[in-house]
């Protein structure tokens, strides 16, 4: 079953940029889904439509089998978001924000408090629990966003560049916990520019280019895909496949003095 489906979604901005151009994509349940593309390819636009921050022009987006416009905001109780721009109140402390997010997701006071404590410990933020978020480092802020996104044990977690700015140790423990959540049935949609990580971590990938889904496949299929017209060799990595797919479509640039 697909937990999230985009069907010919179009989104243009006021400046004429067509961010999504008949995007169709489906995310299977309990998968770790890598959503990759160049800067400006449309990944964030696609995610912000689900978050309710953007309105699509046409097409349909289904979450949990129902169109999002038919569900009001109720579907958000089953989703956790980490967006490209931070979404928290910077003047709050990490602990206050987790309590706030937990309460908004409908958790009881006791549940919210116990889960917040566990999350602060898990993300090594116990010592900073009372510091205002605005005084923390980028990595710590990212951890707080992530902690708030999983506090209600959602069915779907949407992560826009979640590992950017996070130290190696924290990134490793985050990936481990996300894998554990996926093994228990949580679906994870992740965008990242670190293709090595996507290839190792995700079970499915979709490559978006100029607002279109140009390839969707299981990660294990990448190395068996035939390369070039002669079809006599296969891709050695996701990065090689990605560059091959988007480089002939993107304008090649060079510096005149090099």
């Amino acid at each position: 079953m697909n937990i999230l489906e985009y069907d010919e979604v179009v989104k243009s901005y006021d400046n004429g940029v067509r961010a999504l151009d008949l995007l169709s994509m489906s995310v299977p349940e309990a998968s770790i889904f890598g959503f990759i593309g160049l800067n400006g390819a449309g990944k964030t636009t696609a995610i912000r439509i689900i978050a309710g921050l953007l309105q699509k022009d046409s097409g349909s987006v289904k979450l949990f089998g129902k169109k999002i416009e038919d569900q009001e905001d109720s579907y958000k109780t089953q989703i956790g978001f980490v967006l490209d721009e931070p979404h928290y109140f910077e003047w709050m402390s990490a602990q206050e924000w987790l309590h706030f997010a937990g309460a908004m997701y409908g958790l009881s006071r006791d549940e919210t408090k116990s889960r917040s404590d566990e999350l602060l410990y898990f993300f090594d933020l116990s010592g900073k629990r009372n510091d205002p978020i605005k005084t923390l480092s980028t990595g710590m802020k990212k951890k707080i966003s992530l902690a708030a996104a999983v506090i209600h044990n959602p069915r779907l977690i949407i992560l826009d560049e979640p590992l950017e700015g996070i130290d190696t140790l924290a990134a490793s423990s985050i990936k481990e916990s996300l894998s554990l959540m996926a093994s228990r049935g949580t679906t994870i949609l992740i965008t990242s520019h670190v293709l090595d990580t996507v290839e190792r971590f995700c079970s499915q990938i979709a490559i978006i280019h100029r607002g279109k889904n140009i390839l969707q496949c299981a990660t294990e299929e990448i190395r068996s895909r035939a390369k070039g017209a002669m079809r006599d060799s296969a891709y050695s990595s996701l990065e090689e496949l990605f560059v091959d797919l988007v480089s002939d479509k993107a304008k090649k640039k060079h510096l005149s003095w090099l």
């Binding site: 953007l54 579907y75 958000k76 928290y88 910077e90 003047w91």
Partner: protein
């Protein structure tokens, strides 16, 4: 009414209420009261005995708290976007925010009265105080509803010391002036102050029953448009 809200308020409502209250004192917005109080002190010394010595208090409180009325979805930068990502009940968000504003008005009204009336050339009689207490609900609840509507029609992502904020503060004072008309009619024309109390209660009930629900339905429609303009 308040008991009804308290009984049905859950942990989330109380956190929104607390956040709204706390952010005011943590943000530079509360510093707006420093120049306003200085102007208010001059006005208190000057206005008497033309009108009630509480007039400068009303002007200072409502212009200082203007963003709490007219910009409720951006009490902090990015607030609407942050709340949009969460599965919030917009009606309860508006109700909790309005209740926090009510408490802020009461608190600032007491503090500003204590500070400004010190500059009054004459003793402030009990009559003036009771008139002020009768007057406040007659403008407060309509101002909350007008502010809720204005928060959707004219949201400001950042409120601070800009010309727009100054214009909004002036607009607020004019609005409060216009909303004062029923009070002056009831006390000046009919000379029945009890009517003000009834009118105030009526306005409170009308606000509670109508305004948060209406604002919530409008923000549900307009939210994406406002967020997209970012």
């Amino acid at each position: 009414m308040i008991r009804g809200f308290y009984e049905t308020a859950d942990y989330g409502d109380l956190l929104i209420f607390r956040a709204e209250f706390k952010q005011f004192f943590l943000s530079p917005k509360c510093l707006h009261f420093i120049p306003l109080m200085m102007a208010g002190a001059v006005l208190t010394a000057w206005v008497y005995p033309v009108a009630s010595p509480f007039v400068p208090v009303v002007i200072v409180v409502f212009s200082g708290l203007e963003p709490q009325f007219n910009n409720i979805f951006y009490s902090t930068p990015g607030e609407l976007e942050t709340l949009s990502v969460l599965p919030v009940s917009w009606r309860r968000v508006v109700l909790a925010k309005n209740c926090a504003t009510l408490l802020l008005v009461l608190l600032m009204f007491i503090l500003c009265s204590m500070a400004l009336l010190y500059f009054s050339p004459d003793t402030v009689s009990w009559r003036y105080t009771s008139d002020a207490l009768l007057y406040l609900p007659t403008v407060l609840f309509p101002a909350l509803h007008i502010g809720n509507m204005r928060s959707i029609q004219n949201p400001r992502r950042r409120a601070g010391m800009t010309s727009t904020d100054l214009f909004e503060a002036l607009w607020m004072i004019l609005t409060i002036g216009a909303l004062s008309a029923p009070y002056f009619i009831m006390t000046g024309l009919f000379e029945v102050p009890l009517l003000c109390a009834l009118y105030g209660v009526g306005m409170a009930i009308a606000w509670y029953r109508y305004s948060p629900a209406r604002t919530a339905s409008l923000i549900a429609e307009e939210r994406v448009r406002i967020c997209q303009a970012y």
